[in-house]
Amino acid sequence: MSDVIATNQTILVVGGGISGVTAAIEAAECGKQVILIEKNPSLGGRVSQLYKYFPKLCFPSCGMEINLRRMKVNRNLNILTMTEVSAVSGESGNYRVTLKTRPRYVNENCTACGECEKAVEAEFDSEYDYGMKKRKGAYLPFNMSYPQRYVIDPNMIGTDDAQKAKDACKYDAIDLDMQESETTLTVGAIIWATGWQPYDADKIQPYGHDRFDNVVTSVEFERMLDPFGPTGGKIVRPSDGKEAKDVAFIQCAGSRDRNHLKHCSRICCMATLKQTTYLREKFEDDFKASVYYIDIRAIDRIDDFYQKIQADENVNFIKSKVASITEDKETRNPILHGVDTEGYHRYSNPHDLCVLAVGMEPSVPKDAFPIDVVINDSGFIEADEKNGGIFAAGCSSDALDVNRAVQSATASALRAIQVINRVAGTEG
């Protein structure tokens, strides 16, 4: 990390998901010096784990390819992965930031040839697949990982496997002695783009995500559609691997709920509508989707997507907050219990699979920010002059869909540039 040069005219972007990547590129393409840091071994963030975007049903990797190409040719941009902020002090135009980098155990010599992966035996849960799949102890997080550089799982260090990986590498790219490193930089402005994590569905006890195999979260369901994912692109029941053609979607699972997240996570309605199209894609007319909802928030011009799904006879909408889920011991079917509030009918509906449209929770807990910023009750950073030269981008600022997150990130790039240009102006 010694080659990183930063000044109070440098912008630090924290988080390499789509918001952070956007903020970093947009600022760099204005000619500003930018350091982009990401906690994980690869850029990409949550969107890289999605099969398709709503409402266009296009692929996130398409946009990522463009963004990667923009980054590869931009010399104003410095990218540090496996890196987090451990301390921040100072003020707008002059921050001291301490960065901590975990060892990847693989250096820039790596060509991503894959020999180390072939050499090792040890397997671990794949973070990329929410633990639904195993990966090797020497791994490339996913096809489009950037940097295209392997990672050695720290749990493998000290084992024979680690040595095997090292021995398999012809390029002297594996360094098992790599240590955690720390560096302190001066930057002028900070864009905070640490994004979101799916709300822990196990906490919604009545839905039994922790007890019933065939109750999965929306993000897990998304992974099923990836041809390289845990089910090879098939929509199946975790309990028995049989195709799941009768699927229930529970909206606001953990959102708009005082016991969990009190905010509306915005994306879940559209995500569910999108996921019903996956069923049609896989099973044509041979499927049934039941959406249990409070309000369908297909806001603004994308309401037409909702209208399109409403016209699909295989998709039913039930206005109801599901009270609980039980499991049919024999079939392992989840049975949803509740009251349909349109006419007050009680129901106990069995389905092959139940998908919980889980909410968005800010990745950084309220009390874990390294510097004082104004944070609202839901844990999102509020725009406030008190934040000085620190600006939230994307889902650090609110529950946002991709389009709005990118919009927010682009705006945050300008706010950071305002600080930098002010500094440049006064320093002449």
């Binding site: 692929f59 463009i66 096809n143 509306c264 300008l414």
Partner: protein, 739 residues
């Protein structure tokens, strides 16, 4: 001496290339056939030492063209980026050894594949030059033009000025503030999202007046815009008829939206009684009341109960209604219900909705605040508003209680939608004779050949078509923001204005350096044409997806480099092949496919040319390789900037020189197109439909040429398409045109 071409060819032996291939033979080919002046093999070309070796040859051996035979151009891009030299990449790893089995049987054809890619790399580099900025934008303007002085335009101006850029704000009316100036209060923008805030207009106007970087033109419109990013010229005309002309680097279009005409909703009582108002009407009443009791218009009675009808004339497919949701109306109705509740909690306020849309943290908190203030929310479907003896009556089906309800109210508020002020729909078909004339005022009055305003996306909004690129404009350097782009609430509109300001600033900074904007960011190449060959057929000016090409008085194309996005659609369109880029031309591709070794008809070694979009199909093939998906040893893949850049001469030449099959792989076309150059894939499909004539004249089978839509995720399908073509060739036989 400096003009002398000196090609350095570098052959990497890492990643198994050395083991799988005879790199010595490849070096010989580069030297003898590729005419490289300097050829080096290296065990591990992308490491520091390999890179330093190449740099040294550039610095000390006069190498000015570098051909790297190693991995895909998508890999190790940063290591292999040398300044001031042309670079081509022969993809031996993802393109050859990873897509072929490591068997003795496959060895010969794998080597032939690699040899061809080396030939192709050498052929390409010969015709590639280092692109230099045109210099067009070197005197680029730093100023921004903002069309529209509402909240969005004011925000864009304030934010851009705060970054140091001068702004000229043009507002049609006599005052700044737009619709927001007529709103009594605004939805809170800060926690706890419970109490209404001042509309904020006065504060913003004061800021603008105090900012020496912002110039305001009231009662003014933009009557002509010409030029390109960095050198736009705009006529700003006042109502009284005087015009001034100024230069700008970039433009933000913040022309906002107008209210839907509620007179189109007689079934909801509008126009039948003054006690049915739209949201703008209620703002007026609230302004008049100014914190006191709101009175109903008919007789001045203080309102004791008010019903809000959501989605009035919206989210509806009925003729004359708006098909979309206007995005802000749920929040606005809650705000307006609070006007009553805050003044007197005893007033009944009922919001009848189908889906209450208040997303996010602030939205949901605000909704909850409304509930706490005693606003009633009813999920219902309104059928009619009639005028009773004492005021309007709302008939609706209460969807929760499943019963018909007739509710009497002092006042009914219709949450009607918004219609974007997006100017002229340049893609609309020309009106037929006798049809009623629709006169829409243009916002920008662009003198572009392709029309006066930004293209519309849907329902008149000129949003970007892309999820991950909301500011991907089809007119470089011009960014729309706010409700003209997409329906949105005020808080989001301010965010949008700030984002658009950033993009505008970026566009003028790019123009100064001659750099392309997204998606080929930083590209310095630009199209030029050989005038003497041009037949003035206008295909390039018509087909440019970005309206970058005008015509001069003689009818020749006039390229505006800083509007250009470097897709090459013009190059693909040109029937006489006079358009080219310094590093991408009819020759750089044409010579590659001619360089491929075509074995004779009886060799059983066909050749399949694959022209693949560099953004989707090519990465899909790379990832196929990465995952060990093999494809035919007879394929030769050439990445192209966009399928739209494919000139049919390449197809004709390939068929004439004995290729047995040709595949074009582009992005999804049609309504949900994925092509970032808008119509490239579609245009290619149309052009290719005409290749049938060529095939016929050569007596070749039609299925030798295929055009596909391939997504970046088609990691298994893309190789399969190649294999399918190999099968087709096997079925129909080898081409007889081998020389």
């Amino acid at each position: 001496v400096s003009d002398e071409i000196k090609v350095g060819a570098y052959i990497c032996k890492g990643c198994g290339l050395g083991e799988r291939l005879d790199c010595g033979q490849l070096a010989t080919i580069a030297e003898r056939e590729g005419k490289a002046k300097l050829v080096r093999e290296h065990e591990f070309l992308c490491n520091a030492e390999g890179v330093a070796m190449i740099q040294n040859d550039i610095d000390n051996e006069g190498v000015n063209k570098v051909m790297i035979a190693a991995c895909s151009r998508r890999s190790k891009t940063e290591a292999f980026s040398f300044e001031n030299v042309a670079i081509s990449r022969a993809n031996l790893r993802e393109g050859v050894i990873w897509v072929r089995p490591d068997t003795d049987e496959a060895k010969e054809t794998t080597q032939e594949m690699a040899a061809d890619y080396v030939r192709m790399g050498c052929a390409e580099i010969k015709y590639m030059n280092v692109p230099h900025s045109s210099g067009e934008g070197t005197t680029g303007s730093n100023s921004l033009l903002v069309a529209g002085g509402g909240i969005v335009g004011m925000t864009a101006a304030i934010e851009a000025a705060a970054a140091g850029y001068p702004v000229t704000l043009v507002e049609k009316s006599g005052q700044l503030g737009g619709g927001a100036a007529f709103e009594y209060k605004r939805v809170p923008e800060h926690m706890p999202y419970a109490e209404l805030e001042d509309n904020g207009v006065a504060e913003m106007v004061a800021k603008i007046e105090a900012d020496s970087k912002i110039t305001v033109h009231l009662n003014s419109t933009i009557t002509r815009t010409s030029g390109a990013p960095g050198r736009f010229s705009a006529d700003i005309s006042t109502e009284s008829g005087s015009t001034s002309t100024e230069n700008f680097g970039a433009i933000i279009m913040a022309s906002g939206a107008r209210n839907y005409d509620a007179n189109q909703l007689p079934e909801l009582g509008y126009g039948k009684t003054p006690d049915v108002v739209d949201q703008a009407g209620l703002e007026k009443l609230a302004m008049e009341a100014n914190g006191g009791p709101i009175k109903r218009p008919s007789d001045g009675k203080e309102v004791e109960n008010v019903v809000f009808i959501q989605c009035a004339g919206q989210r509806s497919t009925k003729e004359g209604h708006l098909p979309y949701c206007s995005g802000h109306c749920c929040l606005t109705s809650i705000k307006q219900a609070m006007y009553f509740k805050d003044q007197n909690p005893k007033i009944d306020t009922n919001i009848i909705y189908s889906d209450l849309r208040t997303p996010g943290a602030g939205g949901e908190d605000f909704y909850r605040s409304g509930q706490q203030k005693g606003i009633t929310f009813t999920k219902g479907s309104v059928s009619e508003v009639t005028v009773g003896a004492n005021g309007p009556e709302v008939k609706f089906n209460d969807l929760i209680l499943a019963q018909e309800v007739n509710e009497k109210a002092d006042l009914v508020v219709l949450a009607t939608g918004q219609i974007p002020n997006s100017g002229v729909d340049i893609d609309a078909p020309a009106p037929q004779a006798g049809a009623p004339e629709v006169t829409l005022e243009s916002i920008l009055n662009l003198d572009y050949r392709q029309g006066k305003d930004l293209p519309h996306l849907k329902n008149g909004f000129n949003d970007s078509h892309f999820i991950c690129f909301p500011y991907e404009t089809r007119r470089t350097g011009i960014y729309s923001a706010g409700p003209v782009r997409r329906p949105m609430d005020m808080a989001q509109a301010k965010e949008d204005a700030t984002g658009a300001a950033l993009k505008a600033i970026q566009a003028l900074e790019n123009a100064k350096l001659g750099r392309a904007a997204h998606p080929r960011s930083g590209d310095l190449s630009f199209p030029s044409f050989r005038k003497e060959g041009c037949t003035q057929c206008k295909r390039c000016t018509v087909e440019c997806p970005f309206g970058a090409i005008d015509e001069d008085q003689a009818g020749y194309p006039q390229f505006n480099e800083s509007r250009c996005r470097r897709c090459g659609t013009c190059m693909g369109a040109c029937p006489v092949r006079v358009i080219s880029f310094e590093n991408y031309s009819v020759e750089t591709i044409g010579q590659q496919l001619k360089a491929v070794d075509i074995p004779d008809e009886f060799s059983e070694k066909p050749r399949i040319l694959v022209l693949a979009c560099e953004n989707d199909a090519y990465p899909a093939l790379d990832m196929a390789a990465q995952n060990g998906n093999h494809y035919s040893q007879f394929a030769r893949v050439v990445p192209v900037r966009c399928l739209g850049s494919i000139n049919t001469i390449w197809i004709t030449d390939a068929l004439n020189s004995g290729y047995d099959g040709i595949i074009l792989m582009g992005c999804q076309k049609g309504e949900n197109y994925q092509c970032h150059f808008v119509k490239g894939s579609e245009i290619a499909h149309i052009r290719m439909s005409k290749v049938d004539d060529t095939l016929q004249s050569l007596s070749l089978e039609a299925d030798r040429v295929a055009t596909y839509e391939v997504a970046i995720t088609d990691i298994k399908r893309a190789p399969q398409l190649i294999n399918d073509m190999a099968e087709t060739v096997e079925r129909v036989g080898m081409s007889p045109f081998k020389f």
